[in-house]
Symmetry: C2
């Protein structure tokens, strides 16, 4: 059996698991995305072993130190998962117009900054002053608690058809800013861990590049698309507008990844840029089947990385649960406070929506591990925190939004700041 034939069977098993889980979770009124994550855990190398091999974890694949025989499969899985989440954020971007993000820009910035400061402070204080771990170790845990994995939340918002709500827009805007902040902090931390010193010039360059990329794409890109979109009809290739939008998705995703941002930020911006032209070319309608085909791979493969035995380790589970509680509280209070005046439900939605650490927490932890900045048990603590925040957020979001439609009217300040959004 060739490798490719084996991988094709893996794709079938993953997609089947995703669809069965989605069906079951819809029937028990739980978010299908949790079903997909759990399906991944079940069929993954740490449980039934239907896909992957135990050594082939996300962390190893990111760093390339996988035994060569399994490397091919691990890398292929990662690309598939990455493509899935890139398509997800592209689709969410298509449903998000730049003017709606700019309208909530101030609020989103506050949410991002508060959602970075408070979790970092809580994690740092717990690990350092209270538990007495070394400073660099405490800082890494703090940074891992800062990360936001917007993929999970974006999927829930899309499944609930509330992408155009004020809260969703604030979350998406904040996620972009959050990713830039996290990148700056991570670059600083890596410098500290490597050489004990930080080059302000280097950090400034990295930050400037990321901000410039985001602002340039969002503003200039949108202008270019709204001005020249109709010109795409003059191209002879089959369905040129959709092809060009997909090109922008792949191009901006890899450009974002190359300058150190998350690829999904580039994909989201690409979607947003084409949101101006989406109705004219039915872009959303066309992106939806690709979403339905590829996105489940991200969630099932992410779930398959979870090693449930970690939760049986009595030595770390206590501190892991404490860190998880602080990670949730940090975002809930930090982002919630930033939402003051928009009603308690909106405060809760944004706080919970910013909570999942997902694969971003894992990346920070694995960086810390590979730099020798954190020991193995602290790595496990961060992994457990990432998993739990990821699994807890979707059901709570679902309840919060379910209550919203029948609940309080939006207070006056939101009206003025968030404007006349269609579904408020």
């Amino acid at each position: 059996m060739s490798e490719v034939t084996g991988l094709l069977l893996d794709l079938f098993v993953i997609f089947l698991a995703a669809k069965v889980a989605a069906e079951v979770f819809e029937r028990i009124h739980q978010p299908p995305v949790i079903g997909e994550l759990l399906a991944g855990l079940l069929i993954g190398p740490h449980a039934l072993g239907l896909i992957g091999t135990p050594d082939q974890t996300l962390v190893q694949a990111f760093h390339g130190d996988v035994p060569s025989a399994q490397e091919a499969v691990a890398i292929t899985y990662r690309l598939l998962a990455e493509l899935g989440v890139v398509v997800l954020l592209f689709f969410v971007g298509l449903e998000t117009q730049i003017k709606d993000i700019l309208r909530v820009g101030g609020r989103a910035t506050t949410v991002a900054v508060m959602g970075v400061l408070l979790p970092f402070a809580l994690g740092f204080v717990l690990m350092g002053p209270i538990l007495g771990h070394p400073q660099i170790e405490s800082m890494f845990v703090g940074v891992a608690m800062v990360a936001t994995s917007v993929g999970i939340t974006a999927r829930v918002l899309r499944d609930l058809h509330v992408i155009s709500s004020m809260e969703s827009r604030i979350i998406l805007g904040a996620a972009v800013i959050d990713d830039i902040l996290a990148m700056i902090i991570l670059a600083t931390m890596s410098g500290l861990a490597r050489s004990g010193a930080v080059s302000l010039l280097e950090i400034g360059f990295i930050a400037g590049q990321a901000i410039l990329f985001t602002v340039f794409v969002a503003l200039v890109g949108t202008g270019v698309v709204s001005r020249f979109a109709l010109g795409l009809n003059h191209l002879r290739m089959d369905n040129a507008p959709f092809a060009v939008a997909l090109l922008a998705m792949l191009g901006l995703a890899s450009l974002a990844a190359h300058i150190g941002l998350a690829a999904i930020i580039g994909a989201f911006l690409a979607g947003m840029v084409f949101a101006e032209a989406r109705e004219h070319f039915e872009l959303e309608h066309q992106a939806l089947p690709i979403f339905q085909f590829l996105v489940p791979f991200f969630f099932v493969l992410t779930g398959s990385e979870v090693d449930w035995r970690m939760f049986l380790d009595g030595g770390i589970i206590g501190i892991a649960l404490t860190v998880t509680a602080l990670a949730l509280l940090g975002k809930l209070i930090g982002c919630g406070l930033a939402m003051v005046g928009l009603g308690r439900r909106s405060m809760a939605i944004v706080g919970v929506g910013m909570s999942p650490r997902g694969e971003v927490g894992l990346i920070v932890a694995s960086l810390g591990l590979s730099l020798g900045a954190i020991p193995a048990e602290i790595f496990s603590v961060v992994v457990i925190m990432s998993i739990l925040t990821t699994f807890i957020a979707p059901p709570i979001l679902r309840v919060l939004f379910a209550g919203k439609s029948t609940a309080e009217t939006v207070p006056a300040e939101a009206e003025s700041e968030a404007g006349r959004l269609p579904d408020l």
Copy 2:
């Protein structure tokens, strides 16, 4: 830069090359698929080297004997290409109802059998009796000339919007039968090359399995779908009919590959089974964006495997061109004769449509090489034949179909055999 970030950039480069090439080729009135193949050749490891590495050929990837550092990328490319051609044949299947294939079943069988016998005979006689190569070597060249890569032709038929023409249906039906025949011959050849003997029991088992699979899926699958398709509306998951159709595509493709058939045969059957329900659920409409996103990867990556320097080898180019000419003549005359009575244009369309050897020719050649049945220079001869037949067929098909709309009316026999097809 992580492997995944690098691969994401590769996807962008491949998709960009495909779209630029498609645009240029549409403008010069040539088939876009040739543009995509040439774009792959241009950006591939043997020319500009924008993607892949020189050692990572299709043949090596199929056999897994690639240096480990490049294995990951090679396997990922192969999976992407395979997914692209699987989606292509699934889409073509969706446009093909089983009753239309059965209506031309007798003719398709004759086309397949004649298209196997004549090319094999020509190749065998040239290599053995005329050029004096050993018997097993001549037989392998003969078998490589038998193969049909229906992906190329299917793409051209789809681009020309003629999938539902009588000729297209005969080609598709013949391609399925052709693949079963090729598998049986290949199993026989492998037995001969390995042990000098053929186990009739084993060959019978392999053949029976393939025929049973095809007939069972085509007949029972179609019955199940037409009876229970409406039940899919009772599922709670998002867009269940499309999800189940994609599941069938992945499942039947990997099942086909596991029993030794081409994965694309399974994908084609899956599409055909759901063709019954396609209008009800808009399956074609939904599959199209996935087609537009993934199919170009197959053609660009296939093109990137071509080492143009092979054509500069004076020692083999003469015999390679002779073999190519016989490969074209074999299908043109063999399949053409099987079409007698349906008009000269239809004879030519089916003969040319069955001509591309594509990746199937390469697989046969690489099997012969790995079994020690053919030497390196004969391997190159087969590779050149596969490339040339693949590149020559699309432009000729385009011309033949362009003439058809303004040309002769269909003769009486075709009416009665092919029935009242919509676009005859």
